[in-house]
Amino acid sequence: MPERINPLKAPAGTKLALMGNEAIARGAVESGIYVVTGYPGTPSSEVIMTLQRFGKDLDIYVEWAVNEKVAFELALGASIGGARSLVTMKAPGVNIASDPILSAAYCGVDGALVMLVADDPGPITTQTEQDDRWFSKLAKLPTITPSNPQEAKDYVKVAVALSEKLQLPVILRTTTRVNHTVGDVVLGAAELPRKFKGFKRNPPRFVRAGMRWNLERHKWLNKQLGRVEEVLDELGASVNEVHGDGDVCVVTEGVTYNYVAEALNLLDLREGMRVLKVGQLYPPPKKFLKRGLRGCRKVVVVEELDPYLEEMVKALLYDEGVRVEIHGKHDSLLPMEGELNVLMVAKAISRVTGIPLPTSLQVNRETPAVPPRPPPLCPGCPHRASYIAILKGISKAGFRRDEVPIFGDIGCYALSVESPLNAIWTEHSMGASISMAAGMKLGGYDKPVIATIGDSTFFHSGIPALLEAVHKRINVLVVILDNTVVAMTGHQSTPSWSVTETGRKAKPVLLEDIVKALGVDNLAVIDPFDIDSMANVVAQYLRKPGVNVIIARAPCALMKVRAEGVKAVCRVDPEACIGCMACIRGTGCPAMYVDESGKAAIIEEDCTGCGLCAYFCPRNAIKEVRHE
């Protein structure tokens, strides 16, 4: 039987089917990176997860940090001492980390610092379609982008070399369709991790309190940025490529390059079109673009989200005194929102060139409508029980459901927005449940408000918000949904763990210690599956002025099943069931359905035996069946 191939240890020359993020993890091993940190966020999480799972004895520090700002500062601290570091985050994480990132461009680094920024056109799993190519321009950091898993791996190495040559942090910007795509990747050789080399006191460089120093460092930064294209050439890193020849040019980058290449095949335009694949996103690769666009009669810019490359090309051609047709987002050839695909690109190129789409592509199949399937809370999820208790508590306290807003936060529990719970009213940004709830009170709302926030989100950004509510004496009920894990992104550790994924011994930081230390008025720790008790506490706290906190503690159902297996499941007795559907309407549990006879039924292999359905049954028709 073959051993599970270790993608981080397989020898150079091996070809493996790797996901983009696994390839980036391998790239870290091939470029001697020593410190890897970040905060979980789709589509970036698998880089650290892969290094943690397969890199145990590679002598690489790879751990999650409490949030992206801290993660970036950890990486920066390592890199100004000469160690090579990698920090990973999704697009909104960049916003959290942006303060230290902008200053890092002024002090620079000695050991490489590579920052993976994973954007999400679609959006597939992200609150906005933030286009972080603008962030590179704002932060003034060199940025490169891969178009497939092979390049994702190879460009880590390019980014490391570029970072050390220029002494600047380098951004590796990806999108979901590179991070989460599996492709064939040929491995390179591993390099030993580069650790601390030295750190000398140098205030003009590392102290941002001197305005004259800052001005000088800004000049230094601009000088370094002017060298990016030349340094990439010196390194022999061909991140910018020209394919084909012709006087109609397509300028593209990242995953969209693949759509362009396949669209041209479909249109039989492989010859006669020139494609400029831009790998260097910031600063603009001016020499490459000038050379590549020479003699172009028409330019089509194919990119996802904002017209970033389009505006770059327009500015460059204006400076060159060249006036040609430029198509892209500004003339609505391609949409400013959502992701692209081969067919959309083929249609766009067809419109510009007048070459018709082949008829085989004009299939228009009518798809009959079927019921939507939004992702629900999992069977056995403790958040379901928490929201049921919160909603009951609101009624018990004598309020209507529509007069007590429940502020949500970032995590699985946002799925409580769907029927039948219809629980949260907002989901905004990490930690915002508490501050927005408090803000509504400040604005003059006279009924109670509730903030619901997960344990990891609370550690990440909820602590300052709770401190603010306590200090300003704002009446708010905060429910911390403590499932002891970062569940939504794939079960990463939180600061409450005593051992991390890599086996590192850690000091567990307890939520109740923090909450008490912040000085809240009332605190209860409760098992949400005891719905009546929790509803009573909710009702009591809603009537009590002050900052009141409930920690609703029960482990994530998926994690619990993985660790302990399922000991019992629930089964409906069809004789006793009267088909009232109180169980299904009360819980919305996806392990339940209505059978042909109109009675409630449970898919046994999906049930975790939490018993919440039985709580709603007026006939006691749902029984626990223990597995032997």
């Binding site: 039987m1 073959p2 599970r4 191939i5 070809k15 089917a17 789709t42 589509p43 698998e46 597939i124 799993t125 497939n148 369709r177 989460h180 795509t181 599996v182 492709g183 064939d184 995953v255 693949n258 290449a261 396949e262 695909n341 081969v342 067919l343 959309m344 085989s360 592509l361 004009q362 299939v363 228009n364 199949r365 798809t367 009959p368 079927v370 019921p371 399937r373 939004p374 992702p375 629900p376 999992c378 699985c412 799925l415 029927s419 569940a487 939504m488 794939g490 998926l558 559907m581 299904i584 309407r585 919305g588 549990c589 996806p590 339940m592 359905y593 209505v594 898919i603 292999e605 999906d606």
Partner: protein, 209 residues
């Protein structure tokens, strides 16, 4: 060696989160690379995708021919469905002569169970698939998986049917891929389910339509 991949071959996998659609796509990807082919998959991970709709794109082809991780509507050569509702939902991806291979499982979405939407009958779902591909292969995948002792391996049963029908990958490559991805007992029962899928396809004389 791969027998019949001269052009890019597009597979759409339609499933409900938790059914193993992502595992299925990864097994095909690993086996294809093992066979010297090029591969791209496109899928959505990370959100709580359990029990939500999951669509996976798998594309295999000769070296350097596969570039895009996804394909557009009307471009799938085959749809492998692990659930009937999701298979109907994704019909728009099927190409003109596209083949449908689908497990006969129905998982009503919670929107239907709580009565905010109407759930079509199993016959209606099967009818919708047959109206597009009159030779659609409806596989009792869950029953077959149960008989091999792993009720969660319906995805591997479908893989067996798929590879019997299309013969794109060698059995050795597929079995190695399964064991690479799923070590231990889960790997062994998954291989058994894969073989049971092949056997079912042989017994039922399922051929490429």
């Amino acid at each position: 060696m791969s027998r019949r991949v001269r052009e890019v071959f597009n597979i759409l996998i339609a499933s409900v989160g938790g059914q193993g659609g992502l595992t299925l796509s990864r097994v095909i990807a690993i086996a294809a690379v093992d066979e010297g082919l090029s591969v791209r998959t496109g899928e959505t991970l990370g959100m709580s995708q359990r029990f939500g709709s999951v669509t996976s794109f798998v594309r295999i082809g000769p070296q350097n021919a596969v570039m895009s991780p996804t394909f557009s509507e009307g471009m799938a050569h085959v749809m492998v469905g692990l659930e009937l509702t999701e298979s109907v939902r994704n019909l728009r991806y099927l190409g003109e002569d596209g083949k449908i291979l689908v497990a006969d499982t129905v998982k009503p979405p919670i929107t239907a169970s709580i009565g905010t939407t109407r759930m079509p009958s199993k016959d209606w779902l099967v009818g919708a698939l047959i109206s597009v591909d009159p030779e659609a292969v409806i596989v009792p995948a869950k029953k077959i998986a149960y008989s091999t002792g792993n009720p969660r391996a319906a995805n591997m049963v479908m893989l067996g049917v798929f590879n019997k029908v299309f013969g794109i990958l060698s059995d050795d490559a597929v079995i190695n891929a399964i064991l690479t991805l799923l070590p231990g007992r889960r790997g062994e029962t998954s291989v058994a389910a894969y073989k049971a899928g092949i056997k079912w396809a042989e017994e039922n004389k399922v051929v490429q339509g």
